[in-house]
């Protein structure tokens, strides 16, 4: 029986945890997720998608402290002060842990930022941002020889996306909503090591580990419908602790397999983008079409990266 004062009560576990035992719980849950879903093999190199927020920095810290060879990748989105501040958090974290942070600036590399890009392409900002992140993370991982890309998606993120996909019966999205997306030709494996932990737990992890993350939200996320889904799920969770976990993991155990039939057909149709070479089902991939629409020029070539922190930097 632990005699230290509790710092967090987690109702779905019906327990309070002292700082030391809570940090151990987080590490155990990440280890369990990695093993249960075969996320990362021995000796594999991990590229962590880092935003400067609580989840990505916690994921990087957890993977590093568990002994994985994990570098970070920060994508400069050009969203004013928000991007400047989030980049500073990512750089300070990397420097404090002597970790390697790779940086790519969207404006410098592709000639647009998210505010101008989303306006010009008539996409909502979160859509343009997600598209750019997926493209750059895949590209840097493949060119850098990484085996796997890890993101900071937590249980709340996955439950909220599942909720939205079920509300509209987005069958294609349901087929892909898994903690691991296997590698395919030109795509690295994608993993979500935080799926067994909530975002409240990730924020608490950062506080207890002294991780200085950006608390402010992206100014372009206002009106993001996933926020509403999260609030709805938290209202249910407050009445019935464990609901978010049961919803998401029940889907994985009992329903996700039923939606996978369409994935094989999509995979068979993949071919290299004629502009950048990334795998796509159309002649030109969605990212290159976005770049062309915004700048009038086609993207292509490799992604130059900048190494910004950590004395353990290795040549790429």
């Amino acid at each position: 029986m632990c005699r230290q004062p509790a710092v967090i009560d987690i109702r779905r576990h019906n327990a309070g945890f002292c700082g030391e035992h809570f940090l151990r719980l987080c590490r155990d849950q990440v280890t369990k997720a990695i093993e249960e879903f075969s996320m990362i093999g021995p000796g594999e190199r991990v590229l962590v998608a880092v935003s400067g927020g609580k989840d990505s920095l916690a994921a990087w810290d957890l993977l590093s402290s568990l002994g994985y060879e994990a570098d970070g990748l920060y994508l400069g989105l050009g969203i004013g002060d928000y991007s400047d501040t989030s980049g500073d958090h990512a750089r300070r974290f990397a420097a404090s842990r002597d970790l390697r942070l790779i940086e790519v600036d969207l404006r410098e590399r592709y000639g647009f930022d998210i505010p101008t890009g989303s306006r010009a392409a008539r996409r909502v900002p979160c859509s343009a941002c997600g598209l750019a992140k997926r493209h750059v993370f895949d590209r840097v991982a493949v060119e850098g020889g990484y085996d796997v890309v890890a993101t900071g998606h937590n249980l709340d993120d996955e439950a909220a996306v599942l909720f939205g996909n079920v509300l509209r019966w987005q069958v294609d999205y349901l087929a892909r909503q898994l903690p691991v997306l296997p590698e395919r030709d030109g795509f690295p494996r994608k993993v979500k090591p935080l799926v067994r932990l909530t975002e409240r737990e990730m924020a608490a992890y950062c506080v207890l580990r002294g991780i200085d993350y950006i608390v402010e939200e992206c100014p372009m996320s206002a009106g993001n419908k996933h926020l509403g889904y999260k609030e709805a799920l938290n209202a249910i969770e407050q009445q019935s602790p464990g609901s978010k976990h049961d919803f998401y993991f029940g889907f994985l155990a009992r329903a996700s397999e039923r939606f996978r039939a369409g994935i094989e057909a999509d995979q068979a149709a993949l071919r290299p983008c004629s502009a950048c070479g990334a795998p796509t089902v159309t002649e030109v991939c969605a990212f290159c079409r976005l770049v062309e629409r915004v700048t009038g020029e086609r993207a292509g070539g490799s992604v130059p990266v900048e190494l910004s922190a950590g004395s353990g930097v290795r040549p790429s």
Binding site: V7, D9, M202, V207, E217, S221, N224, L227, N234
Partner: protein
Amino acid sequence: MKVRLRNPDRELDVAGPLSVQHLLARLDINRESVLVIRGDTLVTSDVVLQDDDVIEIRPVISGGAF
């Protein structure tokens, strides 16, 4: 007690003593959506806050404000 709320930042004066659970209920905040920090220490729902405490209620939902 001084209560600092984030996103957007604002500050409230609330009379103590008051448990964390009751403070959140009074402010109509779902405990699943926030951390409560006294000074620089996380506190649980049953902790009783006093008049001279300085409290931060920090949202944890990514994607907007509460």
